[in-house]
């Protein structure tokens, strides 16, 4: 059985691996930004529950990871 001319086993492995990589990268980027926001908020005396409002610039790879991952 083939999908797009390629064996289904190969397509499944590629798809699952890409999905895992994209999800983990998005997860890592999201956590990094959240951690930096919390640190910035703490330094500026902003309460923890408002740390998301702290101005935190995302790195290029973090922006890319969040853009690609539909779940983050």
């Amino acid at each position: 059985m083939r999908i797009l001319g390629l064996p289904v086993q190969f397509v499944v492995v590629v798809f699952v691996s890409l999905a895992l990589t994209i999800y983990l990268a998005g997860w890592a980027a999201s956590n990094n930004i959240e951690a930096r926001s919390f640190r910035t908020a703490s330094m500026n005396g902003i309460p923890a529950y408002q740390s998301a409002d702290a101005d935190t610039e995302a790195e290029t790879w973090e922006r890319a990871a969040l853009l690609v991952c539909p779940l983050h």
């Binding site: 064996p7 086993q9 492995v13 590629v14 691996s17 983990l24 990268a25 997860w27 890592a28």
Partner: protein, 455 residues
């Protein structure tokens, strides 16, 4: 699981000796040394981290990015390297790889910016290593008409020895001479060794005036000449239409994901259980030592019992032993795990050359081998990365261990689903090649095989 019978071309009217003196063993030795020398610097990269960090003030993350880049570049360059070997022959490919390797090492010894490290070590040495790794195995295969497993087993075992020998040697040299001089001394020594080895290397048995190892009277004569480049390109196209060409790469990818997670994170896992760093590091040594035995034995067993069965068992051992780590807390149990895991880990890669021989016969398989090495390299990169990300997010490695188990078991399932190995996927390759030589078709006319392999 039934044992696959070898194709009829492998059965002979008389039983050849298993082991006897032949120039093929010289070729195997040359390739083993070339692999050890060519991979030594990259495998021992860890010893350079502190000296570079001390001299230039670079972070460890910035320095190890060069290693990660080198691994990815090697993976991506593997298919190209395989095609290079098919078209030019392994000897010319070695000359190119050797030149790039030595220039890369010399330039690495004069860097003073981190981006220069990425170019010399990451890019140049990454490409050089692809050219070393990929064409040599298919070239070695042409020297074995029979008992391919024996030759491949020795090569696989040597591949495991390289890092074990190189790391302490390079560490000692850095202490004595400093990192810059170590790179230059390595470059000069590598140049001398590689030049000597290339001088006596022969691409095919016919180049040395002998028949392949295991050849007996009555075996089909495959001509002894490298097929024309156009024919190689055509055959590669037919290979890409077989399911095995793609599935073998994804299987290698899964196997490497499975063991990369363990090889890299077993040390912090053990340290988290209260084991000292020195003892934890010796777990990797124990795994490598056990794996040398199965690296040697697996190709031989694949020849005897069938590659699908043997590789399925190796993948299952590699995957299921990882489950032990969920309840392993004591030192002695970690070493039991290391030994058990090492059995599967050592057997993971050994069957691929045998599968290539069973599926594609004596045709040029550099492209297929290169595509499999691409899968392997990407698997090592992904496996090496996911453990760190998961630990940063969750504070433990449980999910990473689950991914390791699932990857290895999925690889085993995928191996079971491969085509049978008792018939060639693209038969009549040799017959078509010989007929082309005898009848000399008109320029521009290519004779197609009588049947193309399909799933």
């Amino acid at each position: 699981m039934t044992t696959a019978k070898p194709p009829s071309s492998f059965r002979t009217p008389q039983r050849p000796r298993v082991f006897y003196w032949h120039y093929a063993w010289v070729i195997v030795s040359i390739i083993a040394v070339m692999q050890m020398v060519g991979s030594s610097v990259r495998m021992a990269f860890g010893v350079f981290i502190d000296p570079l960090s001390t001299e230039f003030g670079w972070s460890q993350g910035a320095i190890t990015m060069a290693y990660a880049l080198s691994s990815v570049v090697t993976a991506l360059a593997s298919p190209m390297a395989g095609s290079l070997g098919d078209r030019l022959g392994a000897r010319k490919a070695m000359m190119i790889g050797c030149t790039l390797f030595i220039v890369g090492i010399v330039l690495t010894g004069v860097i003073n910016q981190v981006w220069q490290l990425y170019v010399t070590f990451g890019l140049m040495l990454g490409i050089a290593q692809a050219i070393f790794l990929v064409p040599l195995i298919p070239s070695a295969m042409t020297w074995f008409r029979r008992h391919l497993g024996l030759g491949m087993g020795i090569l696989m075992a040597a591949w495991g020895l390289g890092p074990a020998l190189a790391t302490p040697l390079l560490g000692y040299m850095i202490e004595q001479f400093g990192w810059k001089d170590t790179f230059w001394i390595t470059a000069v020594a590598s140049a001398v060794i590689m030049a000597a080895l290339i001088a006596v290397y022969k691409n095919k048995p016919a180049d040395h005036g002998v028949d392949p190892y295991g050849f007996v009277p009555g075996d089909p004569d495959i001509g002894g000449k490298r097929p024309p480049a156009e024919r190689v390109k055509q055959f590669t196209g037919y290979m890409r239409r077989t399911a095995a060409y793609w599935n073998l790469s994804s299987i290698h990818f899964l196997g490497c994901v499975g063991h990369a997670i363990i090889l890299i994170y077993i040390i912090p896992i053990a340290v988290n259980e209260g084991i000292s760093l020195v003892v934890a590091a010796s777990l990797v040594t124990a795994m490598s030592a056990v794996s040398i035995i199965t690296r040697l034995a697996t190709p031989v067993m694949c020849d005897k019992y069938g590659p699908k069965a043997v590789m399925t068992v190796a993948y299952l051992i590699q995957g299921l032993t990882v489950i032990m780590l969920f309840w392993t807390h004591d030192v002695w149990l970690f070493f039991v795990f290391a030994a058990a895991f090492g059995i599967g880990y050592g057997g993971e890669a050994g069957g691929f050359p045998i599968l290539n021989r069973r599926y594609y016969g004596f045709a040029p398989v550099g492209s297929a081998h290169g595509f499999q090495m691409l899968g392997a390299g990407l698997g090592m990169a992904l496996g090496g990365w996911v453990g760190g990300v998961i630990f940063d997010m969750m504070g433990n490695y449980d999910l990473a261990l689950i991914i390791s188990v699932v990857a290895s078991v999925a690889g085993a399932v995928s191996i079971v689903l491969l085509e049978r190995t008792d018939k060639l996927l693209i038969p009549d390759w040799e017959k078509e090649h010989l007929e082309e030589e005898e009848t000399q078709p008109a320029p521009g006319q290519v004779r197609a095989p009588t049947s193309a392999g399909a799933d």
